[in-house]
């Protein structure tokens, strides 16, 4: 109880600090600064056939379920049970004059999505509309057309429109997650879509592979591999297979791309001390970013690329520090506990998530950079490590041993709605969420 109280108080405190940002947003549907305490009730009836279309019921249901699941992933919404809907399921009205909004208001729906679908000769047409039931008003309307197997992409695009309308951010629907899995017997890097779909193995060298990092344009992944018997950094173009290597004496680990640039920070120890350097995307050193004696690891950039969070044991225990790149000034951020590592800077800029080990257990915390007030996000659920923010800052991917072997989980940035992302052989660790790429 006490923990929950502290958590709620901390959330309120955090919200107060973020309040000024609230005035900038003129959206009233989702308070992006504390959106998960009250989820918006939304109704998504099964899609209807567009005129002259005889798509099977199973396809219509599958498409509407996919929309429902994709939206639910954001944790902004409460999906209303279709059994309670007061409409004729065989003839659902799709457009404004025909919809009786009172039917939706009376079951508690604040938002409504209607969908129409036509599947003809492997060509797919989908019409999707978002309504505000209280105002009896259409908020978003889109029509998609393409090959039949593009349904998932059409649904994701529409979800992106909805979230953009409600929060002002494009969301997560065209982002990916890279992570490590031991399923093959070795630590290899895998990539999947934000929701765990479309899983692909990225490395296959039967050596230890660690710390995948996405470039801002999601075209490059840098990672550490023992391909040559020691930890070196490999910088690989995902599509073209070209690449570069950073293989200096000692360790070459934990790369982090500078936002919007073909540059990265990484820890190299060729000098005899583990220091963070700024490097070109081709692996050439631009300059040193740290120079204090002791280990400096795990760089994570602020969204504007002007500051870098990192871990250092310069004070005797591993703690998180922030370096201002222009002024060169370094400030310590974490003071609670003896072991604070793995910083992940929120793409919203205001907070840093990290892993703190207290009483032998690792947990995810998030700390407000200005107030330096940490909030614990995971409790009593095995070891929780390696937080990585979603590109809109609304969610955090992390690894947890709460069910035995380590798996990838996702929760909201406030610690609510914790769920497993994937169920794979072996153990999964070190998730890294990419930026959200613009649709083609």
């Amino acid at each position: 109880m006490k923990r929950i109280q502290i958590k709620i108080i901390s959330l309120i405190v955090l919200t107060l600090f973020i309040m000024p940002g609230l005035c900038l947003a003129d959206y009233e549907y989702i308070d992006i600064n504390n959106p998960f305490l009250r989820k918006i009730p939304i109704a998504i009836p099964i899609f209807a056939n567009l005129p002259d279309s005889e798509t099977k019921d199973s396809v219509l249901k599958k498409a509407s379920d996919l929309l429902s699941e994709t939206l639910e992933f954001t944790c902004y919404f409460k999906m209303l049970d279709r059994g309670a809907f007061l409409i004729d399921p065989d003839n659902p009205p799709l457009i404004t004059p025909k919809i009786n909004f009172n039917n939706w208001v009376s079951i508690g729906a604040e938002l409504l999505i209607t969908g129409g679908l036509a599947l003809k000769n492997d060509r797919l047409e989908v019409e999707l509309r978002l309504f505000d039931t209280f105002k009896a008003k259409r908020l978003v309307g889109k029509r998609y057309e393409g090959p039949a197997d593009n349904l998932r992409q059409m649904i994701r695009r529409f979800c992106s429109e909805i979230i953009y309308h409600l929060t002002g951010s494009r969301g997560i629907f065209n982002s990916k997650i890279a992570f490590i899995s031991t399923g093959s017997g070795n630590k290899e890097i895998y990539i999947c879509d934000f929701d765990g779909f479309n899983l692909k193995q990225f490395t296959n060298n039967k050596k230890i592979n660690l710390f995948p990092a996405w470039s801002s344009d999601v075209k490059w992944i840098a990672y550490t591999s023992y391909l040559n018997g020691k930890p070196d950094i490999y910088i690989k173009n995902i599509k073209k297979k070209e690449g570069y290597v950073i293989a200096k004496k000692g360790i070459n680990i934990a790369p982090a791309w500078v936002p919007g640039k073909f540059e990265l920070a990484a820890t190299l120890s060729y000098s005899g001390d583990q220091e963070i350097y700024l490097l070109t995307g081709t692996g050439k050193i631009i300059k040193g970013l740290t120079s204090k004696y002791g280990s400096d690891v795990s760089p994570s950039w602020s969204p504007d690329g002007k500051k870098m969070a990192f871990v250092s044991n310069r004070s005797g225990t591993p703690q998180i520090y922030i370096k201002d790149i222009n002024s060169g000034q370094v400030e310590r951020l974490t003071f609670n506990g003896q072991y604070n590592t793995q910083p992940s800077w929120s793409p919203r800029g205001d907070r840093i998530a990290y892993c703190s080990i207290q009483k032998g257990q690792s947990n995810i915390f998030a700390i407000d950079i200005k107030s330096q007030d940490p909030v614990q996000l995971t409790y009593d659920t095995g070891n929780n490590e390696a937080p990585s923010y979603s590109p809109d800052g609304s969610l955090i991917a992390f690894s947890s041993t709460r069910e035995g072997p380590s798996r990838i989980y996702v929760m909201t940035a406030y610690g609510t709605d914790q769920r497993r992302l994937l169920s794979l052989r072996g153990e999964q660790t070190n998730p890294k969420w990419s930026t959200n790429v613009k649709w083609d």
């Binding site: 710390f211 020691k230 680990i253 225990t317 591993p318 032998g360 690792s362 390696a386």
Partner: protein, 177 residues
């Protein structure tokens, strides 16, 4: 008198006969001697084998020293790369061995227990291997003969999740590449 003559005559005949038989026997003996000679020809090889035995015992000693060098790990405290007196004793013996084997180059692996996070532990493993190397260099071993590689928490020797396993896993391990 006649008796004496008879004896003398008998001797006259018997002795050469005896001599004859003796010569015959001698022939047989030389044959066997030849056989002996062939046997003695093998003797030097047997002696060689015997000479090799003490060498093998030396080898065993060398091998034991080498195995000790390879198998004796040094151990660290949690989140520390400093060398305690036990580790320093082990490293002093390793320096002796490296001095006795001046042509050998070695590699030191730095390892951590599973606690803590991968990135930091990779750096910690690097510090551990480097601190062992620095100690050997201080004892006069040439730095170019010693390479280091950190495995962080990636290669535990004991998969357990308890202090006993962790203590075994926080180690510096030596290899001859």
């Amino acid at each position: 008198m006649r008796k004496k003559l008879w004896i003398s005559l008998a001797l006259l005949f018997v002795i050469p006969g005896l001599l004859f038989t003796v010569s015959c026997a001698q022939k047989e003996i030389t044959e066997t001697e030849e056989a002996v000679v062939t046997e003695t020809k093998e003797e030097p090889t047997e002696a060689k084998v015997e000479e090799e035995k003490p060498v093998a015992e030396d080898d065993r000693g060398i091998l034991a020293a080498r195995n000790m060098f390879l198998n004796e790990d040094i151990y660290f405290e949690f989140d520390k790369s400093s060398l305690d007196s036990v580790a320093q004793d082990v490293l002093t013996r390793k320096a002796d061995w490296m001095r006795d084997n001046p042509d050998v180059a070695v590699s030191i692996e730095g390892h951590c227990d599973e606690r803590g996070t991968n990135e930091y532990n990779l750096a910690l493993g690097d510090r551990r291997a480097e601190s062992a190397k620095a100690f050997l260099v201080d004892l006069g071993i040439e730095a170019y003969r010693i390479s280091t590689v950190s495995y962080g928490e990636e290669r535990p020797v004991d998969a357990g999740h308890n202090e006993e396993a962790w203590a075994k896993n926080r180690r510096g391990h030596f290899l001859i590449p």
